[in-house]
């Protein structure tokens, strides 16, 4: 079949895009080695804590829970020198610093209006600084450069931004647990009762879902930025993200009046917002509570009301290569969003679960949202309930290949004349050239209805991209 000139252009673009990558791949060694910050600091491979980065395995979760410290040890960095294993470690910058670059090289979106083929550099580059100030105070700072991010502005409009600055999360974590680590008195140890960790307090810009059975920020299948009409700020296609965590309502805006993208992670499942989080483990149970300032409330939080939440989680399994957890959450968005000019309450409840068996990792979340306090004029035309579900399965096929399958479903709420439901199935294959360097090929298929609604405005998305951690 003769190729159209358009196809030829696309083909050349693909080739040009592939060449630097192929060059990189040809010169990089293919053996697994520890690279990023914690791996450097502790002289461990990435998979000591991760199934594959960024998903945590059971040990990684315990490390995270203990405030970025090996459980049952204390190792504040105020000491001049620390000896970890056989390594006498000076305080080096590389031990607290990590870099992650992610994004598509090539993407092709078809079946919508208009179809797109883009060549891109990785859209997101993040710098992390994380570690311990003292035995009981940990820190996490994230600087990020994000390109093509869709941000809501006023009157239902959006704009595409490229920003560099403090990223999704930055916080301090305080360990308030009684001192029962390290070389404490044996008698005290036996008297401490059930195994416990914490309470830990996180203060700053936090992701509350970090301890949920399905954390928002730890995704193998990256968000695919949406598309807007830059002439008038209308949105043509929403960002493709895990639907369970997303806002789900058409026609909502923040307290400051900025439009909330339907697929933006919000409330408990925000990738990061200002708040205070407290969590503790008692035996196999985790209890978490906290308050958030509100969706993108920032310093100009107009309603001055805070959003409280609670979450409980139970862990199970500690042998036969099996582990899992189940979580349930309740979040009250206290006057946290607007319908028109009226502040409304936003309730979120949800459950999530995770099962890991050998090299299979299954996880998912079901989230229900409800808006209350709607103004009478809009109550009849606004669907006040919404539901989102995201289920994912990852399987490590070989030392070098990871196969992921994700199902997203959204039964949207919001204004009846705007809303539409979404259903997407994504298959992705990652090839790890090293534990910290992967390229992926993904295909997301809209298995629901295709229309011009921004949630449904595509049939197929194919992307080739990179996930690099240093």
């Amino acid at each position: 079949m003769p190729k159209s000139p358009a196809w030829n252009v696309i083909g050349i673009k693909w080739l040009i895009s592939f060449m630097p990558m192929l060059f990189l791949l040809s010169i990089l060694p293919t053996n697994a080695e520890a690279i990023p910050a914690f791996a450097r600091k502790y002289d461990l491979s990435c998979t000591s804590c991760h199934t594959k980065a960024p998903r945590l395995n059971a040990f990684g979760e315990a490390f995270h829970m203990a405030g970025y410290q090996i459980p049952q040890t204390e190792e504040g960095e105020l000491r001049e020198k620390r000896q970890i294993g056989r390594i006498v470690s000076e305080k080096t910058f590389l031990n607290i610093f990590a870099l992650r670059a992610t994004g598509n090289f090539v993407e092709s979106i078809s079946g919508g209006h208009p179809p797109e083929t883009n060549l891109a550099l990785p859209r997101e580059i993040e710098l992390y600084f994380a570690g311990t100030f003292t035995e009981d105070v940990s820190y996490f700072f994230n600087l990020s450069h994000e390109a093509d991010t869709i941000e809501g502005i006023d009157n239902g409009r959006f704009e595409k931004t490229t920003a560099f600055g403090l990223g999704k999360e930055f916080f301090l974590m305080f360990d308030l647990s009684p001192s029962h680590r390290g070389a404490t008195n044996m008698h005290e140890i036996t008297m401490t009762g059930p195994m416990r960790m914490g309470p830990m307090i996180m203060v700053g810009k936090v992701d509350p879902s970090t301890n949920f059975s399905y954390p928002t920020n730890r995704q193998f299948i990256l968000d695919q930025p949406g598309r807007i009409d830059t002439n008038n700020g209308t949105i043509q296609r929403f960002t493709l993200s895990p639907y369970a965590f997303s806002a789900k309502f058409f026609g909502l805006s923040t307290g400051e009046g900025n439009t909330i993208e339907v697929t933006k992670g919000v409330l408990y499942n925000t990738p990061g917002d200002f708040g205070i989080d407290v969590h503790a483990m008692l035996g196999r149970f985790m209890l978490q509570t906290g308050v958030m300032q509100g969706i993108d409330a920032g310093s100009a939080d107009i309603n001055e009301k805070k959003d409280p939440y609670v979450m409980t989680r139970v862990n199970f399994g500690s042998r036969n290569y099996f582990s899992g957890s189940a979580s349930a959450l309740a979040y009250w968005g206290n006057d946290t969003a607007k319908v028109g000019n009226d502040l409304v309450d936003w309730f979120r409840t949800g459950v999530s679960g995770n099962i890991k068996y050998k090299l299979l990792d299954l996880y998912g979340a079901l989230i229900w949202d409800k808006i209350s306090g709607l103004p009478a004029a809009t109550a009849s035309v606004f669907d006040e309930t919404a539901f989102g579900m995201t289920l994912e399965s990852d399987f490590i096929l070989t030392d070098r290949y990871l196969l992921s399958l994700r199902y997203d479903r959204m039964d949207a709420g919001g204004f009846a004349n705007q809303k539409a439901d979404g259903e997407v199935l994504t298959l992705q294959l990652r090839k790890y050239f090293r534990d910290n360097y992967a390229v992926y090929l993904r295909d997301s298929v809209n298995i629901g209805r295709v229309s011009t609604n921004p949630l449904q405005n595509f049939r197929n998305l194919i992307a080739l991209g990179v996930d690099l951690d240093f």
Binding site: D43, L366, I396
Partner: protein, 280 residues
């Protein structure tokens, strides 16, 4: 739509309740089975403990502490039964060596005892203290008391046998005539060939064989002797000497203590040659 949401909500809440109940049941069952380790015969265990270190009351307390530390730090990889089947274990070596050790197998890589023997308590403590580069973190900051407690718990709960208190291998100290010299390196190079170290580690020490398997039939990559960061049993002169003498049980690396019997000082020549490969 509403019906679907309600149905899913009910199903998920039901599942969550079931999981909660099941995990609580499993937990209580595990507590029953392992309230003090995993003893099959309490009398035998008490005897073992007494023989091991004398101070019975103190050791019982230490074992309790060890159990607590183990369940918060070690269980993720070694599993609650010490069989190396913890939830995180498979990700360390999905398709190749190493995996976390199965303590109940009686096979220990890192020992100062003869190949095939159990380790000393101090061997277990050393491994926990130092960790294994790339795979197991160091627990040095746990303190000697904590390290001993965990080692005692492993011995009691999983190995369930008397640990040897001494080793029959003669360790010659790295002093006097056995310090580094060019002549010693040359002798070590000859030994390297005679002992056929090159068959696995390569003539240049950079390894290369890919057909080796461990006791679990997992692929083993012989370490690259030119890169000290790959030395699982330690990088000091004494660590390398010990590894040569004892081997790494469960892997194709044999112990050479028999070969050096009566001439233990000669092993330092081989150590010096290996160090020279690293430019040390």
């Amino acid at each position: 739509m509403c019906t679907l949401i309600k149905t899913l909500k009910r199903i998920s809440l039901l599942c969550f309740t079931i999981v909660l109940m099941t995990s609580t049941a499993i937990r209580s069952q595990e507590m029953d089975h392992s309230s003090m380790g995993n003893p099959t015969d309490e009398t035998q265990d008490q005897d073992t403990m007494e023989k091991m270190n004398g101070n019975r009351d103190g050791d019982e307390m230490a074992v309790m502490k060890g159990k607590m530390i183990f369940s918060m730090s070690c269980v993720y990889c070694h599993g609650s039964r010490g069989e190396g089947d913890g939830a995180a274990s498979m990700f360390l070596g999905p398709y190749s060596h190493p995996r976390p050790n199965n303590f109940t197998s009686g096979i220990f890589k890192f020992r100062s005892t003869e190949s095939g023997e159990l380790p000393l308590l101090s061997d277990l403590m050393r491994t926990i203290r130092e960790g294994i580069p790339g795979y197991m973190p160091s627990f040095r900051n746990m303190g000697e008391e904590g390290l001993r407690a965990v080692a005692l718990y492993i011995a009691k709960a999983f190995i369930q046998a008397d640990l040897p208190t001494t080793t029959s291998i003669k360790y010659v100290k790295h002093v006097g005539p056995y310090i580094y010299s060019p002549q010693s390196v040359r002798r070590g190079e000859i030994l390297y060939g005679i002992m056929k170290c090159n068959e696995c580690h390569g003539a240049d020490g950079k390894a290369g064989r890919t057909d080796l398997r461990d006791e679990r039939k997992l692929m083993v990559h012989p370490i690259d002797l030119t890169r000290q960061e790959t030395f699982g049993n330690g990088t000091s002169h004494e660590d390398i000497y010990r590894t040569i003498m004892t081997g790494l049980d469960g892997t194709p690396m044999p112990g050479y203590s028999d070969l050096f019997k009566g001439e233990e000082d000669s092993a330092w020549d081989l150590v010096h040659y290996i160090l020279s490969l690293q430019g040390r």
